[in-house]
């Protein structure tokens, strides 16, 4: 048990006879302070300073003050200015049990080191042009809130950045426009962006994800179906990409005409769940321009591709653009969910109780240190090249079985003759001690950790080669 903290001057409590006479015997005093103790106004100078710091990074509109969770105990919350308050807002975690159980309500009362840890972790790998990040608990919440940020941004533009009308405020309470406008997000067939209901309306990889769940009438564009290796089919691929981009523009116009304007476009740099479908940097460049031309936000979903597996920290860095996106969402390898965004897409109304979990930032800072110290992105590039070369060789060796080997870094995939053969190969490989996963209709995807070295690749290619021989 922690030692009983000496009660400091309690400058506010004047016990009156009325209640004094009823006071129960104290128990568990060792966990608690004796009463409130106020040193400054709230928020005090330290809280104000930290709010200013955090305001450079994310929304601080809902923050009351910063907490010192180490000093907080029992029914008392201690802030970073040393104010000790009797806590009647205890919506959240019973932090009296242990400092570790404590999961602060980041949206209202973040811990003191939160801005510093954000800078060391998420901000240190921020995509080009983005200095703001909003943390979230999972990938679906990250995309869901990114969509909300795009809707709010788009509607603010429509309103000329004026305050919402009374009609806006009253109609939204009953789910009706103009308060809840009929905006849409344009997504791509084959895309996967999560399973909550907003995300799900933009997910189109497998029927089983979507079946029986009500959805939105939002436009869905074709994602280019390219031939691999990309560099051998440049002409055909460019035609296919042009076809898809034309369709995107048509859909934007159609949906505007039917009163459901496209507030944002969401896309993965590599369609992962949908079968590891790649497109060229030229496609993404033109798509980004189409978004800008039509006033739609451009949201790059890096939940699967972010974190280094493609050999760059963000897959969209391969496009070589100065201004690749308005929003970049992440999760998985980043340990925490969230999204980076342009300043103008800041929405003070994006909020929930937890807003992620700051303990994940501590871990992420360590992970990033290891990635840098061990040059893991170079390692990924090297291993990925060896892996893809090996897949090309096996594809030449088994042309009836394998096709379309493709990849960036170790983020690789290959197509198998058919679904049944694919599943048999996955099981046989597992029996030989290699865990592989499927994606799309008949692809196998490779998703090793960043510490996957060339000798692991060789080990894998040997097993894979044995398994393929059994299926030829």
């Amino acid at each position: 048990n922690p030692t009983y903290p000496v009660a400091r001057q309690t400058n506010v409590i004047t016990l009156r006879t009325l209640y004094m006479s009823k006071a129960a015997a104290k128990t568990q005093v060792e966990f608690e302070y004796d009463g409130p103790s106020m040193k400054t106004e709230v928020p005090g100078p330290r809280s104000k300073e930290l709010t200013k710091q955090l305001g450079e990074i994310q929304n601080v509109g809902a923050i009351n003050f910063f907490c010192n969770y180490e000093e907080s105990r029992g029914n008392y919350l201690v802030d970073v200015d040393g104010n000790r308050m009797l806590d009647y807002t205890h919506l959240l975690y019973p932090y009296w049990l242990s400092a570790f159980v404590n999961r602060p309500a980041l949206g209202i009362m973040p811990p003191e080191n939160f801005p510093e840890k954000l800078a060391e972790s998420l901000l240190s790998v921020a995509p080009s042009g983005m200095s703001r990040v909003q943390t979230m608990a999972c990938g679906s919440c990250s995309n869901e809130n990114a969509y909300k940020a795009m809707f709010i941004w788009y509607r603010n533009k429509e309103r000329g950045h004026n305050n919402p009308s009374d009609e806006d405020m009253s109609s939204c309470m009953i789910n009706q426009s103009p308060g809840c406008p009929d905006f849409s997000i344009l997504s791509f067939m084959g895309g996967f962006h999560g399973r909550t209901m907003g995300c799900l309306a933009t997910t189109h990889s497998k029927a089983i994800h979507k079946l029986d769940v009500p959805s939105f009438d939002w436009p869905i564009a074709p994602f280019p179906k390219l031939k691999y290796p990309l560099e051998e089919f440049t002409r055909e691929n460019a035609q296919e990409e042009a076809r898809c981009l034309e369709e995107v523009e048509d859909l934007i116009v159609q949906w505007r005409q039917k009163g459901r304007p496209v507030a944002g476009i969401v896309i993965e740099p590599i369609q992962a769940e949908g079968g590891d479908n790649h497109a060229t940097p030229d496609f993404f460049k033109k798509l980004r321009n189409i978004a800008r031309k039509h006033g739609s936000a451009f949201h790059v979903d890096e939940v699967q591709t972010g974190g280094g597996a493609t050999g760059k920290f963000w897959a969209h860095e391969h496009w070589g653009m100065d201004d690749p996106a308005d929003i970049v969402s992440f999760s998985k390898k980043m340990l925490t969910g969230g999204y980076y965004h342009k300043d103008e897409l800041q929405a003070y109304r994006i909020f929930n109780t937890w807003m992620g979990d700051p303990s994940k930032n501590l871990f992420l800072a360590e992970v990033l240190n290891v990635i840098r110290r061990e040059n893991l992105l170079e390692e990924v590039t090297r291993s990925g090249k060896t892996l893809l070369q090996g897949l090309y060789q096996l594809q030449d060796q088994y042309p009836n079985l394998l096709s379309s080997a493709r990849g960036q870094g170790t983020f690789c995939a290959i197509d198998i003759r058919d679904d049944a053969t694919r599943n048999s190969i996955l099981l046989k490989a597992r029996d030989k001690g290699v865990l592989l996963g499927g994606c799309g209709d008949r692809s196998i995807r490779f998703r090793p950790a960043l510490v996957f070295k060339e000798y692991h690749v060789h080990m894998f290619l040997n097993v894979f080669s044995d398994v393929l021989a059994e299926h030829n």
Copy 2:
């Protein structure tokens, strides 16, 4: 660094000259095994046994095998049968960094002690009639997935539990019915169920939560506006509740007629965010019967009320029913999000990568131990009674300032003359070291921790009394 594990028999790797010659020098060998090692088929007997155990509690359709995360390292995943596999599915966490960083993909590869820890934690406090629980990362995800479970359940009934048609499968991919049916969830004005887009369509507490976000055309019923103390206004209150229930039935019929049948009804036992609005057990009993009569699922959202603050572990236990709900969702005080559900509402398609975080179950088991050992629910009942009596006294003393004191356990609230006065009281109380929160238009809510004792109540009432005197 962990000691280098002795490589066990590697029964699958036959290194061939082709790749052998290219093998890179190993680094970081201290973190890794030398190769795969298979002891049994996968899943092995231990994995099968654990899958069976977990199958009694939640969905196991997507589980491959159970993992031994302590033994897993580097690029190798070790399962509970001792099989060591080269991991090419590393979508998730770099578990090589530290066992603690490891956040298992519960949906696919849960850790060995997961069923046991679920039984010790969440199942040990399961609501009446419910033996199944699905964990989730946050409150919004919990409700969002509960809605999906209700939609899937409802559609399965419609289909006579037959397989989905080809038309179902193809239409859902483009967000259209019948695959994405026009089902609705009936919610109540003043309710708060979260901020993702499905949840948000059932949230009606503040315009600012909903403004600018597209929504669904779902029915919204009035929540009873009762007079407090409830026992002094039984006749008027019963009339008001009857009016609301009649409206609920009308809405269900209307929405069925316009082709948007009500798959589920969602309600809070006490509308929290909306202003601490109470209803009587009789109201909830009749509402539950209406749901049953019309074939809609009945979802009780205990995200705010669950965990003991009302003096019972679940607020709906105050209704005294044998079969109070089909789904009960939770988060906040429970440390993890999720929902309990009836067997028939099990949906194998409810899934995401993380499905919550098992470390939270460990903490919850400890929290529950403390709640039992310290009889905290009795403590809450005692402190709550003292708090409410004190609020009644102050309300008599300041009739122009205070009204409608109400509460269950320490889950109490009181109305203030107007919004401006309420906010002034909140600030003044904070300056005196008492943290209070607002809810609804002009209410103050009390949400102390479960360890809030009677003497804390007296301390608070003194401060509150001083603050009120300044505003009279």
